[in-house]
Amino acid sequence: MSSVVGDRPPLPVAVTDTVAPTDVDGIREAFARARDRDLAVLVHGAGTKLAWGAAPSPEREWLAIDTRGMDRIIHHEAGDMTAIVEAGVPLARLQATLAEAGQQWAVDPPRVDAGATVGGVFAANDAGPRRHRYGGVRDLVIGIAAVLPDGTVARSGGTVIKNVAGYDLAKLHCGALGTLGVVARLALRLHPLPEASRTVRADADAAAATATVLDLLAAPLDLAAVEWSSAGGGVLQVRVEGRSEAVDAAAREVAAVVRRHAGGVAVLPPDEEEARWASLREAHVGGEGATVARGASRPGDLATVAAALAEAAADAGVDATLCSAAGIGLHDAILRGGDAAAHARVVARWRAALTALGGSVVLRERIAGVDEHVDVWLDPTAPPSTLPLMRAVKQALDPEGRCAPGRYLGGI
């Protein structure tokens, strides 16, 4: 059942055993082994987001399930705009395969080059800039088969885009970081690849970017992505996609709106576009020595969100960059410099500011020691009203607490 697939990524906990199943039965056997030896289970693909969530408990003994042996694209029916894939399929290979038919799974997270898998992107709910147009991972998965720690294989959803039969349990597993079981197969909703795209960039500080974003949302434009970065005084990038005869007109309309509030407005040369987007996309990943916190707010609160981060960072003596999917109000704060306690202070203050706006802040990657000062998921003095229900859901699917215990919110 086991086979070595690629390099083992650095795991956040010592494991006594690693299993690389090649099918659903292999996952069931892995769980059986974990039950026999009372091991906790950490599931991973390429391991690009293993640092997310709270640290796994070092008191438990762990078994790792590497999904990369499950890498088949089982079915792709271009005419139905659906595909069924195994969890370990690398996103890069999936997109290359779909592109041959002029299609895509419209999810563009960072770290695709590092081997990010469909299952990993799903478990972490990690989307990229084009989420603005296509929705998040949750919106683009139409069915799953998951293996629960007791060995039950449970499907929900289906393989057709339109389907309301039964509970949509895929939503629970999306973003659950493997705490409810191992997702083995996914049915994906696909989109056509656009014929062409154009990108408008501008210099815009947070206030100008906020005003621009709200004007763009109010205009009858079909935007693919709207990203703002605080780096270098603030840069806004807006992408439109569509038919080759229409994208220039769309870019002109976008530029006209952007010019109301921002300077340095230009349509990027098409041959530079991809690289500029790749760089913005990858900027959401902090890398070595950085702490990343994901904030969520209403789009119109961007300036307040940016100011709160800048203030907290300045007070703590930390360098902070904000990378925002500005049209949908999702912001990644990248913190560098300063020690763990300083990073934690920034996160706590930024969290308080966003919570006051109705939003939230969750830690992603962080430097060692941050967790000692701030909770990864939330302010423990103000847990969400749904926490008991989340515990009940966990209890229903993983009553023995075998799947990544402690990694999730509220100690789940």
Binding site: T159, G175, P220, T386
Partner: protein
Amino acid sequence: MRVGVTQVGTTTAAEPPVLERLRRDLEGVLEPDAVITERTRRRTYECDGLTGHRVIPGLVVLPRTTEQVAAVVRACAQHQVPFVARGSGTGLSGGALPHADGVLIVLSRMRSILDIDVPNQRITVEPGVTNAEVSKAVAAHGLYYAPDPSSQIVCSIGGNVAENSGGAHCLKYGFTTNHVLALQVVLPDGSVVEVGGPTAETPGYDLRGVLIGSEGTLGVVTRATLRLLRRPEAVHTLVADYPSPAAAGDAVSAIVAAGIVPAAVEMMDNLAIHACEADAAAGFTLEAGAALIVELDGPAAECDAAFAEVQRLCREAGAERIRIADDPAERARVWSGRKAAFAAMGRLAPDYFVQDGVIPRTRLGECLAEIARLSQEAGLRVANVFHAGDGNLHPLVLYDGSKEGEAERAEALSTRIAELCVEMGGSLSGEHGIGTDKACSMPKMFTDDDLAVMARVRRAFDPDDICNPGKVLPTPRLCGERPGPYRPHPLEAAGVIARL
């Protein structure tokens, strides 16, 4: 002989003692006029849009606030009395079928629009607000709410959330689950929680995603925050006539292969065209084997170019006639004709069953041929109206209930067609829901393990099994019974709503 209307449990005039105690507990919580005990008035609520199933609820309450809903649910939990939430009662699968010994919580008095956030394109409403009222409330700002079930003038947002409603335009814009940001929910123990939030992400499990489409079995939604969209700059609509549904299906394949995602793609076969024309005179060609409606929307430059290509593709696929319906009046005429399809069936036969199965769109021709074969075998006519873009079929099995045995044969054929959809890799239901109607067919689509895991999640929300019990998941009690035939909902008969 007609198939008898299902009557579950006792429907005697006397109030069960437990409901009497529960009602006393709620004195002082609900206004006197918010509690209905008289049997004749309770009878008003005996069914939803699936009119073949009727049960008179034990008690009906009409709360005005979340606190009142919570108090009712707490009382139900305390007395272990089942409760069912009901919006406008337009559901087509018996999801709001009451319990004879339970409480029906009617949310139609909770119909305030609580907040409109124009810059951020969000609206917060109470569950009784209708789907159409949401779009109307924000129309002046150039915004609208995308899900558009054809009962939208009447159906409520709470009901849309319960059913994960779609509509003709969900091909491009998605379903309710893609447009709800936050819900306030009264859980089956009476506690009130907020799921999701005003933001695109909230920490923790996506409970909102499970609640949407759970058909009222996991809690009662008392408030919803919805995402609004900017009205598209341009809309183009055409009707193309084809010699057969298979030929029209080829046109759809060509449009999909060209990388065009229309806002809506609808098809009717010849029988359905005849019914619609007799009813609505919308200008469909009576001789056509199939009518294909294609609608595109978006920025003008993009949409105009795509529309030109769609016309070309439709011609190349053998369209006998293409009618452009580009001005709003003409477009409304096409849609009213299409939406009249169900109501119009009365002109073809006294009774019909409707199915809601979904197939992979690429298997349309194969599926229609099999439906035609089954139809011939059963000696019953089947009219086909469907969302051709996403493979959601609405085969209408026509019959005459006054003829001995015909209703039974029609019901069997209808169920066979739904199960055929599952066999072809599709789904039992694209939008009408499972409810009471299709719970017994669920084992055709899901394994025992699949269903058992769904039941585990359900118990996490509702450990006492009092929240709309007996719906969605099959139970021996439910599946031992036989449903009655389709009858038009009173609002449908009056032409207020239509089913798509």
